[in-house]
C-alpha cells in the first residue's frame, strides 16, 4: 500500500496529500503525520470519505491507515 510522509508540511498540505493519494489509490493509503493536529485532520478526512481508519503511533509520529 502506498505510504505518504507528510512530516513538516503546513496546513492544509497533509489533507491535500491524503486526498491526492486516495484518488490515485481508492483501495486505501497509509499516511504518516508528525503532529496531533494533522492526525486529527487526516483522520477526519478519511472517515468522512467512508474509509475505515487505524492509527498507529511510532515514536513521535502517527501512521494512519485507510481501508475501504
Amino acid at each position: 500500500m502506498k505510504t505518504i510522509d507528510t512530516s513538516g508540511m503546513s496546513c492544509p498540505q497533509p489533507v491535500l496529500a491524503t486526498k491526492k493519494a486516495m484518488e490515485e489509490n481508492p483501495d486505501g493509503v497509509m499516511i504518516m503525520v508528525d503532529n496531533t493536529t494533522s492526525k486529527e485532520n487526516v483522520q477526519r478526512f478519511m472517515l468522512k470519505n467512508g474509509y475505515q481508519v487505524t492509527v498507529e503511533k511510532i515514536d513521535e509520529a502517527f501512521v494512519l491507515t485507510a481501508k475501504k
Binding site: G8, S10, C11, P12, E40, R44, F45
Partner: protein, 353 residues
C-alpha cells in the same frame, strides 16, 4: 464527537469574551482584533508613532502564552521551522496591510458583522474571494516546502519574549508608548485582557480554531468543522451585542470602520489569499507561535513589521476611507501575491518548463 465540542466551546467563548472585553473598555466591535492589536503593540514599542494606536495589548500576549501552556500540558509543543521563512514574512506584511486597509483581521470582520456593520459583509465577500484564489494555487501545488524539528530553545524563545513584554508592561511602563486618545486608549484592565487572552489562547490551541480554515476546508474538502467555530463566534457575539445594546445595523457611522466598499473588498481579499498561503489566519499564527512553530513566529513578526510600515507610510485607512498610498500598496500587494503564488506552485512551474 469530542473535537466538535472543543471547537463549539472555543467559538462561543471567543464570541462572548469579545463582547465582554468591549464592556470592560476595549474599542467598539473590537473585543479581539489580531491585526489591530499587533498594530497597537507595534505602536506601544515605538515601531510606529501613530499616537492614537499605541498600547501593548495583553490579549495578544495572553493568546501566545495560553497556547504555550496548553500545548506544553498536552505534549503538543513541538519546536519546528525553516519553511520558506522570508516568504512567510512578506506574506504576513501583505496580510497586515490588507487588514489595516479594511480596519480589521478576519476575527474583527466577524465581530463587526455581529455588531451590524454591513461594511464588514463587503469585507467578508472579499475575504472569501481571496481564499478562493489561494485555493486555486493550492490545487496547482503551491507549497512553501517542509519545516524541520529544531532545538527546544528555538521554540521556547517566542513565548518567553511575550512574557518579558508583559512584565515590562506591568513593571516598567515608562519604556513603552501609551495612547492618550483614540482606539489605543480604549482598553480593558490589564489583568482582564491577559486572562481573556490566556483562556482563548488555550481553547484556540486545543480546538485548532482558524477563521480561514473554515471556508478553505469547506471549499477544498467539504469539511465544515472549522466553519462551525466561526459560526459560534458570530452567533455568540451577535447575542452579546443584542444583550448589551451594541447592535447597530448599517453602513454609515460604524465604529472604527469606513464605507469604501472596493477597498474593504480588496483589503480583505489580501488577508484571505495571504492567509491561505500561510496556512492559517493571523489568530492561528499567534496560537502556532506559542506551540513552538517558528514559521508562525516569523509570520507574527511580519504582521508587526507590516503594521509599522502601514502607519509609517500612511497605508492604514481611517473612518474617512482608504488612503491613496494604501490603495497603491494593495495593488502592489496583489502583484506580489501573484508572483509568490505562481513561483511556489509546483505544477504551474513544471508545466511552464
Amino acid at each position: 464527537m469530542k473535537n466538535k465540542i472543543a471547537i463549539i466551546v472555543a467559538g462561543s467563548v471567543v464570541g462572548i469574551f469579545s463582547v465582554l472585553l468591549v464592556f470592560f473598555g476595549n474599542p467598539a466591535n473590537m473585543g479581539f482584533c489580531i491585526a489591530c492589536f499587533i498594530r497597537d503593540i507595534a505602536g506601544g514599542m515605538g515601531l510606529h508613532r501613530a499616537e492614537v494606536v499605541q498600547y501593548v495589548r495583553p490579549e495578544v500576549l495572553g493568546l501566545v502564552l495560553g497556547s504555550f501552556i496548553l500545548a506544553s500540558k498536552n505534549k503538543e509543543f513541538l519546536s519546528r521551522g525553516g519553511s520558506s521563512p522570508f516568504t512567510r514574512l512578506i506574506l504576513s506584511i501583505i496580510v497586515m496591510i490588507g487588514a489595516l486597509v479594511f480596519l480589521g483581521c478576519p476575527l474583527r470582520m466577524v465581530l463587526r458583522i455581529a455588531g451590524g456593520d454591513l461594511n464588514a459583509v463587503v469585507g467578508l465577500v472579499g475575504f472569501l474571494s481571496g481564499i478562493y484564489v489561494g485555493i486555486l494555487f493550492l490545487n496547482k501545488g503551491f507549497n512553501l516546502k517542509r519545516s524541520y524539528t529544531l532545538t527546544h530553545m528555538e521554540g521556547y524563545l517566542f513565548p518567553f519574549v511575550n512574557l518579558v513584554l508583559f512584565v515590562i508592561l506591568l513593571a516598567i511602563p515608562s519604556l513603552l508608548f501609551f495612547s492618550e486618545s483614540g482606539p489605543g486608549a480604549s482598553k480593558a484592565p490589564i489583568w482582564i485582557s491577559l486572562m481573556a487572552g490566556l483562556i482563548v489562547g488555550g481553547l484556540a490551541q486545543k480546538s485548532r480554531l482558524c477563521t480561514v480554515g473554515g471556508a478553505r476546508d469547506t471549499i477544498l474538502f467539504r469539511d465544515s468543522h472549522l466553519l462551525l467555530g466561526l459560526a459560534m463566534i458570530l452567533v455568540f457575539s451577535f447575542l452579546g451585542n443584542l444583550a448589551f445594546g451594541n447592535f447597530n445595523l448599517g453602513f454609515e457611522g460604524q465604529p472604527i470602520a469606513h464605507t469604501d466598499g472596493l477597498w474593504n473588498f480588496l483589503g480583505m481579499s489580501l488577508v484571505g489569499w495571504g492567509s491561505v498561503l500561510l496556512g492559517g489566519c493571523p489568530m492561528r499564527q499567534l496560537i502556532l507561535s506559542g506551540e513552538g512553530n517558528t514559521d508562525s513566529v516569523i509570520s507574527v513578526i511580519g504582521l508587526l513589521i507590516g503594521a509599522a510600515i502601514a502607519h509609517n507610510f500612511g497605508l492604514a485607512s481611517s473612518a474617512a476611507g482608504a488612503t491613496l498610498p494604501g490603495q497603491i500598496a494593495v495593488i502592489l500587494s496583489i502583484v506580489i501575491l501573484l508572483i509568490i503564488s505562481w513561483g511556489n506552485s509546483e505544477f504551474l512551474r513544471k508545466a511552464k518548463s
